[in-house]
């Protein structure tokens, strides 16, 4: 992985902060009226947020998602829906932090500059997505490390909370389901 110089990090950090402000004001308004994917019932996430998560999921959950294409699509959609529910359950202050993070990543100029991804998320290759995740995971800028961890952990929680994920990890689910009226 490319190692950035300290100066490059600083530039990225400062420019990122300016862009973030632009991203939050401009981007949300431009996309406010945007329609959501018909199949997904989303309360908090916009279509472009859903596209971001759909692009990240195969990298974050590599080896965990189903391989069969239609099952994989269902799984990714359920991760997006669970991500949406998770955001809705956070306090308003933390919801605003997540919203800033998603804006930073989905606003094209900041996506290019801060995430280093040149194409829109739905066109980015899996190598580009993995490189972005690895770069943020090991960034010396703590806010980028925080951003990586927030995205990765929420997506991981959204997948492993889903019974669809359990067969691959050998987890049989809660016991005594019948006696406890869970069936």
């Amino acid at each position: 992985m490319k190692v950035f110089s300290r100066r490059a990090f600083l530039k990225t950090g400062l420019a990122g902060a300016c862009l973030l402000a632009a991203a939050r004001t401009l981007d949300r308004e431009v996309f406010a009226q945007e329609s959501r994917p018909g199949s997904l019932d989303l309360k908090k996430l916009a279509n472009k947020d859903a596209e971001l998560i759909a692009a990240l999921a195969p990298a974050v959950l590599q080896g965990a998602l189903p391989d069969e294409p239609s099952a994989r699509l269902v799984a990714i959609n359920e991760v997006i829906e669970a991500f949406d529910r998770t955001v809705a359950g956070l306090s308003p202050a933390v919801q605003r932090e997540v919203e800033s993070l998603l804006s930073l990543l989905t606003f094209a100029p900041s996506r290019r500059l801060v995430a280093g991804v040149s194409k829109p998320w739905n066109e980015a290759s899996s190598d580009e997505v993995a490189a972005f995740l690895e770069q943020w995971r090991n960034s010396r800028i703590s806010v980028l490390q925080q951003g990586y961890q927030a995205l990765a952990r929420v997506m991981i929680a959204c997948w492993y909370g889903n019974p669809l994920s359990w067969a691959k990890i050998g987890y049989g689910g809660p016991p005594h389901a019948a006696e406890l009226g869970l069936l």
Partner: protein
């Protein structure tokens, strides 16, 4: 869905109007309320539940307000994705300001007792001696507190657990044994436990003797009024007394306050909302804090985590979650020296494992695929006993919500590094083939020698090292000297005569053990003193 064969006494009583329980759902208000009472209790966890029990037994008119929902055993379906948003602060994702520490804290009727792992310890004598010497807490001795611990142990069926430990705990026991490290069994607050292993998602069989199934229903029988799904926003004070309390019913989203207000005029106010929410409420209310002590010294037992892969199945999601511990590294590392820690094993369910294991992608998935063979150990650092372990600070954001800063000093980092090494050695001694300290820069290690060398070089930094907490303490420290502390030893606020803090936020240090029984015992005593005082009216309040 078939009908449950396990009765839910809470749901039955709520559905039976003739029982006369006074319960209001704050999320369904259609108007403002004005309520008068003798005592209002903010929070329904270990502190609030115990206080309500004591104060209603004294015949007082008591109102309890809880921010979380009123859920009971039929709602507890042993699924993390349902339980965490319903029963935990921030959907079990509460974090320190820099996101360096993830905090598991309950938010429901019963507070953290509804979701804790049932570990029951009396306050360690060394902690009480430290308090007596450094905080002037003369009647917090082992002897003074013993009858109160006995009383609460009997009340909550706290007893040795007669069932053999699950494999996850037994590995900790065997590893310690092979290294000559003393380990012992944990007492639990259960009655007729099914040994399922899902305590953290709310007990589905009502075996856990949490506040939800003991003190709170008993208090409701005695006339307690309970408003759940309501957030206390502010206390008003005048001339050194709280004159009123304002709460708002929660919005239907469950995370923000709705439009309807509940105003409470109470003779006394008891805060039991936990070590983050109590200081935040007092800060929002701009209560007197002449020595700037409020929200300071918040402790977490910051915990390091170490995972291992065993040859045989561990199934750490099954069976009583915590039954074995070792205090060897508390007993041999006394206060003032290198940081001591308590060793335990946690339950491992898919979400908790997933978010705690480092990395992403194929490497992460490879660990998840070994879930049935995964062993996990945790080391709970005893914070607050050394000049370089002053804990964290609670502040409020612009919207009034709390945020905890918890900077980790080099001293604490070295303690965490020591703990990672100790847990690794124990896991290899117990037969682990692969061990990995949970750290973004750690790799799976195949021998103790290899791991020891690597752990010595790990950068111990925020966000690199996984640090978790399930015990939030302090922030409203008690102490004899008003210059050091927010409240007095009896729980009364140093500056406000009708304000009391009855929960773990009163601790001037961490406990060095899972705190529930410490809270039960200390609150039982302090609440009974308050009840006595209210029965024989204090001339100042007559």
């Amino acid at each position: 869905m078939s009908a449950s064969t396990v009765p839910d006494p809470i749901r039955l009583a709520l559905d039976d109007r003739s029982r006369g329980w006074k319960v209001i759902d704050g999320a369904r208000l259609t108007r403002d309320y004005l309520i008068e009472c003798d005592v209002v209790i903010v929070g329904s966890g270990a502190g609030g539940g115990t206080a309500a029990d004591t104060l209603t037994q004294a015949g007082l008119k008591v109102l309890m307000i809880e921010e979380g929902p009123f859920r009971s055993s039929t709602d507890f379906r042993m699924r993390e994705r349902d339980a965490y948003p319903q029963l935990y602060q921030e959907s079990a994702g509460r974090q320190t300001r820099d996101k360096g520490i993830t905090i598991l804290q309950g938010r429901a009727v019963g507070g953290s007792t509804t979701v804790n792992w049932t570990s029951s310890f009396r306050t360690p004598p060394a902690t009480l001696q430290h308090w007596e010497k450094n905080w002037g807490l003369a009647d917090y001795t082992v002897e003074h507190l013993a009858p109160w611990f006995e009383k609460m142990e009997a009340r909550l069926s706290i007893a040795p657990w007669p069932v053999p430990p699950n494999e996850n705990n037994d590995i900790l026991r065997r590893g310690c044994e092979r290294l000559g490290i003393p380990a012992a069994a944990i007492r639990r607050n259960v009655k007729g436990c099914w040994n399922l292993g899902y305590c953290g998602m709310g007990c589905p069989t009502n075996a856990k003797q949490s506040m939800l199934v003991t003190t709170i229903p008993d208090s409701l029988e005695r006339g307690l009024s309970l408003i759940h799904s309501a957030r206390v926003e502010r206390l008003a004070q005048r001339y050194g007394r709280i004159t009123s309390l304002v709460a708002r019913g929660m919005d239907s989203d469950g995370v923000s306050a709705g439009p309807w207000k509940i105003r409470v005029a109470a003779k006394h106010v008891v805060l039991a909302g936990g070590a983050i929410n109590n200081p935040a409420l007092m800060l929002r209310s701009a209560l007197p804090d002449p020595h700037q002590r409020l929200g300071k010294r918040t402790f977490l037992h910051p915990s390091a985590v170490c995972a291992a892969i065993m040859d045989n199945k561990v199934e750490a999601y099954s069976g009583a979650p915590q039954t074995i511990y070792s205090d060897h590294f508390l007993d041999t590392l006394p206060h003032g020296g290198p940081m001591g820690f308590k060793l335990e094993a946690p339950p491992i369910h898919p979400i908790l494992a997933g978010i705690t294991l480092p990395g992403f992608g194929a490497g992460h998935a490879a660990w998840m695929k070994r879930l049935p063979n995964l062993h996990v150990a945790i080391a709970l650092m005893r914070d607050g006993f050394h000049p370089q372990s002053e804990g964290g600070n609670v502040a409020i954001r612009a919207d009034g919500s709390p945020v905890l800063d918890y900077p980790i000093s080099d001293y604490v980092w070295e303690g965490l590094r020591h703990a990672l090494a100790v847990m690794t050695e124990i896991q290899f001694a117990a037969g682990a083939k692969i061990v990995m300290p949970l750290h973004e820069d750690a790799k799976p290690y195949r021998s103790w020698a290899e791991a020891r060398h690597a752990i010595g070089g790990l950068p111990m930094q925020t966000l690199r090292t996984r640090v978790a907490s399930a015990h939030v303490m302090g922030g409203c420290a008690m102490g004899a000297d008003a210059r050091d502390a927010v409240i007095r030893g009896d729980g009364r606020h140093h500056q406000i005569e009708n304000l009391w803090v009855f929960d773990g936020s009163a601790f001037p240090t961490s406990i060095g053990a899972n705190p529930q029984l410490s809270i039960y015992g200390m609150v039982a005593r302090n609440a009974s003193r308050l009840a006595q005082m209210l029965r024989k009216p204090d001339p100042r309040f007559a």
